[in-house]
């Protein structure tokens, strides 16, 4: 299908084939020296024959990926209001410092005496994280939020085992991220869902009923995924601790409170911190992330390996623990160093003062959106909200237009849609997180568009919504066909 033009391009939107379809036979985009032609010493393994990779020159590769990049929405190109995902500006200084050869070309297994700068950087970041959270220590190696959850629950399970108190259940509020129950299952816990109350918070009575001496922990996101602070947090943490259970906090929304509230003061026992959210390391189209998990005193001895310890003026990497209490190892090496360098650069740039301002501006921007959109959309829970605001689809009832339609119409208006249909506790959820790096003017323009779309929906302008997106490089894609007959790789005969 070539669209309206002979070659398939539409102005600056270039139709770009797959790399494999660009194959020019013997071409290559690198000039490597000629091998000497030695006889291979491959033991019992035969040398391989063809692989099937295409041959493409450097200019073609540059053009290919440049054209692909132009088909992506990005925080660099516009407001990206994905609730709970925290799409904020990614400073370029961070990209510059991570490429310093002393970090970029250091090897994870080089002698420790030769990598003191790397260890110092990790230790410094760890100090910032424990200070900001008011926690006793931090395990740095988790590769992303879900990996941090795994580390946290493994510590909890190990601590309970050490107490001689095997427990089998984890409580998870119904508004929780899907990673929470998935992680609990990975640690062989049974998951009990705790309902939310009419205020969008954990239903305290239901929580109390669910809590007994078989509960290992509650996994709580605070602020929660409705963008609301759990007002009963002190009661909840108190009840958990009295029952001998732990409070695991999902730190996905730490950006709302950084510098203003320390999770340790809320009774949190373990919390992962998504450096790619609160501390602005780039999302990169889906990763890499980084999920250090801060821990309380009781959980620290069980933290995974490796760890970093001060040794006089030097830093020491501990690769095995003397008492055998570490729960294990999560990955090949020490952690997402590249994300650590970026996050520390971000923290140092903001400082203690700036990080507090980050939280305050994020909260102010979200409340501003909540105030501006509350007439046009229905907010199921009253404000104030924290760093994100939640609407449901009640105002769309009987218009024939759904949350999905609003989202696709936003694309035509030049915006990435908000998080939709999550959290699951409200119907047709729209979760909007503007972040602190949007200006008032930018948010005003966004709100104008959202109000306009709500008006059009009420007017019954179905055509506008059901044909959306009309101006994106692609129309709505057939996800059903993709799932019914999965085509997951290119093969020569599919072209």
């Amino acid at each position: 299908m070539s669209g309206m033009t002979s070659g398939g391009h539409r102005g600056l939107v270039m139709d770009e084939p797959l790399l494999f379809e660009l194959d020019g036979g013997g071409r290559s985009g690198v000039d490597l020296p000629e091998p000497e032609g030695r006889t291979p010493k491959l033991g019992g393994v035969r040398p391989r024959q063809a692989i099937g990779l295409p041959g493409v020159s450097e200019p073609e590769v540059i053009r290919h990926f440049t054209r692909l990049s132009q088909k992506n929405y990005a925080i660099d190109s516009g407001l990206y209001p994905l609730g709970s995902c925290t799409m904020k500006h990614n400073p370029r200084l961070n990209e510059k410092v991570v490429r310093l050869p002393g970090f970029a070309m250091a090897h994870p297994l080089q002698p420790q005496a030769t990598a003191q700068g790397c260890l110092e950087l990790i230790a410094t970041l760890a100090h910032w994280l424990t200070t900001l959270t008011g926690m006793q220590g931090v395990a740095m190696s988790p590769a992303a939020g879900a990996h941090g959850e795994f580390a946290g629950l493994m510590c909890i399970r190990a601590a309970l085992t050490a107490r001689g108190d095997a427990r089998r259940r984890i409580l998870v509020p119904e508004s929780a991220h899907g990673t929470n129950p998935a992680t609990a299952a990975l640690c062989d816990y049974r998951v009990n869902t705790v309902p939310c109350d009419a205020r969008g918070r954990v239903d305290l009575a239901a929580f109390e009923r669910a809590l007994d001496d078989d509960v290992a922990a509650l996994m709580l996101t605070n602020p929660n995924t409705c963008g609301l602070f759990e007002t009963d947090i002190m009661t909840i943490s108190g009840m958990l601790h009295s029952a001998g259970a732990f409070l695991y906090a999902d730190g996905a929304n730490f950006n709302a409170i950084v510098g203003r509230v320390r999770p340790g003061d809320l009774g949190v026992d373990a919390m992962h911190i998504n450096l790619h959210k609160t501390f602005s390391t780039p999302h990169g189209g889906g990763g890499p992330g980084s999920g250090p998990v801060v821990l309380c005193e009781e959980l620290l001895p069980f933290a995974p390996l490796p760890r970093i310890k001060a040794d006089g003026d030097d830093w020491q990497l501990i690769e095995r623990d003397s008492d055998g209490r570490a729960f294990g190892r999560l990955r090949a090496f020490h952690g997402q160093m590249g994300m650590f360098v970026r996050a520390l650069a971000y923290m140092m740039s903001h400082g203690a003062d700036g990080l507090r301002q980050v939280a305050e501006d994020a909260v102010l921007n979200a409340n501003y959106v909540l105030a501006r959109l509350s007439g046009a959309y229905n907010a199921p829970f009253p404000g104030p909200c924290m760093h994100e605001c939640l609407f449901d689809d009640r105002n769309l009832k009987d218009t024939g237009i759904s949350t999905l339609d609003i989202a696709k119409a936003m694309i035509d208006e030049g915006y990435h849609p908000m998080t939709m249909y999550f959290p699951l506790i409200v119907h047709g959820a729209m979760l909007i997180e503007p972040t602190e790096t949007e200006s008032r003017q930018s948010i005003d323009r966004f709100c104008d568009v959202m109000v306009h779309l709500a008006d059009e929906a009420r007017k019954g302008n179905q055509e506008l919504f059901h044909s959306a997106p009309r101006f994106a490089p692609w129309k709505r894609l057939d996800e059903t066909a993709a799932a019914r007959r999965p085509v997951l790789t290119w093969t020569p005969d599919t072209t």
């Binding site: 393994v45 660099d76 994905l82 189209g285 090949a332 903001h350 501006r372 999965p486």
Partner: protein
């Protein structure tokens, strides 16, 4: 502050719209006795100049692959990354986009992931691959869990040739999965894997090149696994080796996991890296991680979407195939661009150069009195046996400014059989001068 657009005038005007007197009002749901009234005890904000200066000072304390003769490998390799790779991955449309949940405005990432999956399948000799995992070790752990789901069996046999950090990651992941892991000892003299396979075995996990740098054809082992109804999981921790060696898929592997760092990604002191994960089509619904799949849009135009998502945590919650959400997107992009630049011939040549560099290095080292190697085959990394403890030799080399290799005792200090063994890697970046420096220093230390 340069990253914060709001001015005090904006803030005041916005608070008025919100109907709040001050920002404190907006934090009214937080119990007031836990508010931080003071700034936390951390440095105040700094400009670009100061931050860059401070971080550069830390970076400069390290010896690294750019300022020292360098022979470290063991799961992370120093390679040349073409300049185009870094230029392209820093395009904001790639760098600052999220997971492609809205396909109409994420085709760049989705098409790239489809290309990545295809390349991974080609390299490993498998049918399907996912859109990446955290790293090779966590991918290996996920492979064991997947094999258990596929076979509904609860016993995994792990070769002593598997990287000890991979082995430890596997045992951590399966700790509470009601799975027995039988790990054979890490030893130059290999234990027999086939005799460990029985009717309860879900999978056998092996590595190529193994932790000593050796190469094995696993075809017979694959047959033995299949006869017993078990899967063969092959880990590859140097992806460039797949440019020279028969791929695990051709040997009969059922799941192939691989550390992809060598293509497009820097050493970076251990991360972020990119785990590759490939398998047979019939097992795709048991796979962990995201998948991009081909489809068409409403106009019939070819495009890509994330697909088979019902395996994943955001839909399946506690019944998901894995808890993984964020993967290694940008590292996968760097991998894809580097491999696109290399192409069929470039990768083969790169692999040949690596193998030859290792041959040259080995020849020089084993010519030194008291140095020998147990390897009859290898790719770009091999073991040497020294007359004394390798850890001490490595430290002495470091004192001379040479990063000479990894002492295998680092993984198992109590295992006396490993004490004198050192793993040495060479790549296309290894110069004759570096080999001279290493050989000269080693000779001096040993004499």
């Amino acid at each position: 502050m340069r990253y914060l657009p709001l001015t005090d005038t904006d803030r005041a005007a916005m608070l008025e719209v919100v109907g709040a007197r001050s920002i404190d009002d907006l934090y009214g749901d937080v119990p007031q006795d836990v508010w931080c009234e003071e700034l936390l005890d951390l440095p105040l904000h700094q400009g670009e100049i100061e931050v860059e200066r401070a971080l550069s000072a830390m970076a400069e304390k390290n010896l690294h692959g750019g300022n020292a003769p360098f022979f470290l490998g063991c799961g992370a390799y120093r390679h040349h990354v073409p300049a185009a790779v870094d230029a392209l991955i820093q395009r904001g449309e790639f760098l600052t986009s999220y997971t492609p949940y809205q396909p109409e405005i994420s085709q760049g990432t989705l098409q790239m992931l489809f290309e990545f999956q295809t390349m991974v399948a080609m390299l490993t000799g498998m049918e399907v691959a996912n859109a990446s995992m955290y790293d090779g070790a966590s991918a290996a752990a996920e492979a064991v869990l997947m094999a258990s789901r596929v076979t509904r069996r609860r016993r995994a046999v792990v070769s002593g040739g598997l990287h000890p950090h991979y082995r430890d990651t596997v045992s951590t992941y399966v700790r509470h999965a009601d799975l027995e892991v039988v790990t054979l000892p890490m030893a130059v003299q290999e234990a027999d894997l086939e005799s460990q396979i029985d009717g309860s075995t879900a999978c056998v996990v092996v590595q190529i090149p193994d932790i000593f740098g050796r190469l094995h054809d696993f075809s017979a082992l694959a047959d033995a696994c299949h006869r017993a109804g078990a899967l063969l999981v092959v880990a590859v921790n140097e992806v460039v080796s797949l440019g020279l060696l028969t791929p695990p898929g051709d040997m009969g592997a059922d799941i192939v996991v691989c550390e992809g760092q060598s293509l497009g990604n820097s050493l970076g002191f251990g991360g972020p890296y990119v785990g590759l994960f490939a398998t047979r089509k019939r097992h795709v619904r048991q796979m962990p991680g995201r998948l991009a799949g081909e489809t068409v849009d409403a106009d019939g135009r070819r495009g890509w979407v994330l697909t088979l998502s019902t395996r994943e945590q955001h839909i399946r919650r506690e019944k998901a195939t894995s808890n993984i959400c964020t993967n290694s997107g940008l590292c996968a992009l760097a991998f894809t661009i580097h491999l696109a630049l290399l192409g069929e011939h470039g990768l083969a040549r790169l692999a040949a150069l690596n193998h030859e560099a290792a041959q040259r290095t080995m020849e020089r080292l084993i010519a030194i009195n008291g140095v020998s190697t147990p390897n009859d085959g290898f790719f770009n990394e091999f073991t040497i046996e020294l007359p004394g403890p390798a850890a001490e030799v490595v430290d002495q080399l470091a004192e001379r400014g040479i990063l000479g290799g990894v002492p295998l005792s680092r993984f198992e200090p109590a295992n006396g059989a490993l004490a004198n063994l050192m793993l040495v890697a060479a790549t296309e970046l290894t110069t004759t001068g570096e080999i001279d420096a290493l050989a000269g220093a080693l000779q001096e230390i040993l004499s």
